[in-house]
Structures are given as C-alpha cells and as structure tokens.
C-alpha cells in the first residue's frame, strides 16, 4: 500500500524548505511600501489563490476580480499582519471573505442539493453515454460530469475539499483558514467525498 498519500496539484510555498526567511524579508519590505517586494509575494501566491477562488467562484471573470481584490486588500492591510508565518492563511482568509461577499452580491450560491441536482441531470443527459471512461474523460464528458457534481456541493464542503484535495493543505491549516475545528474539517472532507461518490454512482448509468 505504501505510505499515506498527500494529493497536491501544486506545492504550497510554505511547504518548501528555504523560503520562509525570504518571505519574512519581502513582507517587511512590502510593509514599508516597497511594491516590488509585494510583487514578488504576489508571484509566489497568485496561482494558488487564483485557483482556490476559481474553483469556488461563479465564473472566471469573478475569480479574476476576487483574486485581484484579495491581493489589493492584503497590500493595504499588511501593517495589520503581526505573524508573518501565517501570511498564507491570512491571504486565504481574505480571498474567502471576498468570495462570500461576491456571492452575497450575485446571490448565485447553489447550496441546495436538490436544485443543483436538476442542473447536473441536464448536463449529464447531454453527455455522450457511450465509450469507455478513459475516452470520456479525455473528451471532457466525464470531466463535465465531475465538475457538475462538484459544483452542486454545498459551499461548506466545497471549500474544505478544494483546500484539502486540490490545494493540498493540512487539516490544521484548513482549520485556521476556515475557523472550524479539526474534527469539523475532517468530517466535512469525508462528507464531501461521500456525496461525490454517491452521485458518481447514481449518474454513472446515464
């Protein structure tokens, strides 16, 4: 079976060894108004934050706007950041707040599983049922189904799953970002997986 597996689409900058000191220096410079230093920080975290946001936001345009706003707010509030070691968590929190703010504005949160299921069914019925799973994944049919199922998850499960599975953060880090207990994070990740698994089986016959 091998060792336990940590699934990561991209490695967190905080997980790479020699960088924390460098980040500390860049943060000090950025705090004193050095926008070039903030540029280096942006380069380091932009892709992660953008991907986190784009998995949870309604559209790509929303994701770009939210990410940009999150970094702008982070730059403006840098002086309030006391512990540089928690910069990444702090940045995620800002981005998450912006996602929720955007959702309140657009009121397009598909939190009801029943409503979302109708949407999934439409997508799934339009997909080509023929062909083996690999071909369907390659042609995007299966990917479309999975994305539809993922989108149908309640926000609480979706954000936990994105952080744990797609972003590869530890439950401890996720707990800090979301402000929930470790056991709650563990339960949410499991429930999200359970829902996805059940829906995959439910719709596999279509």
């Amino acid at each position: 079976m091998g060792m336990t597996e940590k699934s990561v689409n991209s490695v967190s900058p905080a997980q790479t060894g020699a960088e924390p000191l460098d980040l500390d220096l860049q943060l000090r410079k950025a705090k004193s108004g050095d926008s070039q230093a903030f540029g280096a920080i942006y380069d380091r975290y932009a892709a992660r934050i953008f991907n986190f946001v784009s998995h949870l936001a309604g559209s790509r345009q929303d994701a770009e706007d939210i990410t940009q706003e999150a970094f702008f707010l982070a730059y403006r509030s840098l002086k309030n950041l006391r512990d540089h070691a928690h910069f990444e968590q702090w940045l995620y929190k800002i981005a998450r707040n912006e996602i929720y703010k955007n959702q309140r504005k657009t009121k397009s949160r598909p939190d009801s599983l029943d409503d979302a299921d109708k949407g999934i069914l439409q997508i799934l019925k339009s997909a080509d049922p023929a062909g083996n799973p690999e071909n369907r994944l390659l042609s995007g049919e299966l990917g479309k189904k999975i994305r539809a199922i993922f989108k149908s998850l309640p926000m609480q499960y979706k954000e936990t799953l994105v952080l744990a599975t797609l972003q590869g953060l530890s439950y401890q880090e996720i707990s800090g970002i979301l402000g929930r207990s470790l056991s709650s994070v563990k339960t949410d990740v499991y429930r999200a997986r359970l829902i996805i698994s059940e829906k995959m089986r439910k719709y596999s016959s279509l």
């Binding site: 336990t4 699934s7 689409n9 942006y42 439950y171 698994s197 995959m200």
Partner: protein, 176 residues
C-alpha cells in the same frame, strides 16, 4: 461501515490526505492488506479523488491581473475614488487608512477656518443692516419730532434748545 474490526471510512479519508499519525497510518496499511472490503473502499475513494484532480486542474494566474493590480496599487486608489477638493484635503487617504496625520490636521484647520470666516462675514453684514435700520428710524423720529413735538425733546429726552423755565410744582413738592 458496520463491519466489525474494520476501519471507519472517515479514517480512510483522513489516511488518504496523510492526516493520520504514524501509528494510526501503519494500522490502516496493515488492515488494508488483509481486508478486501476496506481496500475496495479506499481504492474507490482514491479513484474519485484522482478524477476530481483531473477534472479540476490548476491553471496559471492571468498575466493581466497583475498589471491591473499594480496599477491600482501604484495609483493608490480604489474603485470608490475620492476626488476634487476632498482628495486634496486628504479625506480619501483617511478613508483608505493611509492618512498622513499632519496633512489631515492642516486640511481640518483650513476647513474650520473657512467655516468660521464665513460666519464672521455674515455677522458683519447683518450688523451693518441693523445699524442702517436704526439710523433710518432715528432720522424718521427726529423729522417727526421737529414737526410735532411741543416740548422740543429729542429721541433721548434731551431738550432741543435750553430752557430756563422753573418747575412751578417744585415749591409745592418741597412743602409736602
């Protein structure tokens, strides 16, 4: 789960994320080797996770996002910009939390000085109006006085011309 001695699925999920401690992870590994049901559950969970990773791949942040962000940072502005005299007075900077205390103090002083000088000017104008009105009343009164006052007394009660007449009632009053 319900199977005796089997691992709960929530623990398998945590194992998949590398969240179990070393001892617990070793226990799960040993169990998965011997239990077909748990092994199947774990493999299914792993397969779903891999499908999710493939269906939701990471993408690089768009380059124009950085350009837009830094043009905003360099301009020191936000979507809701403060312009004109308010910007000059440092109100925008105050709202955005970047106020320079001396600039704001100067702006506040100038603002209040402007208001006070406004009051003062208005007072002076009002005073002038009242004095002119009084002068007009006085002039009217004197003109009417001259025409109709039999005692030749001005508005202040002073005689318009000196009189030498004695008070005829003075002796009577002294006797009483």
């Amino acid at each position: 789960m319900g199977r005796r001695n089997c691992i709960e699925e929530i623990a398998l999920s945590a194992y998949l994320d590398g969240e179990l401690n070393e001892d617990a992870a070793k226990g799960v590994e040993a169990h998965l080797v011997t239990c077909r049901d748990c092994s199947a559950s774990y493999e299914s969970m792993k397969s779903d996770r891999n499908l999710l990773l493939e269906a939701l791949p990471d993408s690089p942040a768009p380059a124009h996002m950085k350009v837009q962000l830094f043009s905003r940072i360099d301009a020191g502005t936000e979507a809701r910009q403060v312009s004109g005299i308010w910007a000059w007075a440092g109100i925008g900077q105050l709202l955005h939390g970047r106020s320079k205390p001396w600039a704001f103090a100067c702006a506040s002083f100038a603002f209040f000085a402007l208001i006070l000088s406004g009051f003062h000017i208005e007072h002076r104008i009002e005073d002038g109006r009242v004095l002119a009105q009084i002068d007009r009343f006085k002039a009217d009164w004197v003109a009417r006085d001259k025409a109709a006052n039999p005692f030749d007394i001005d508005i202040n009660g002073a005689p318009l011309r000196p009189t030498t007449a004695k008070n005829p009632f003075k002796a009577y009053l002294n006797e009483r």
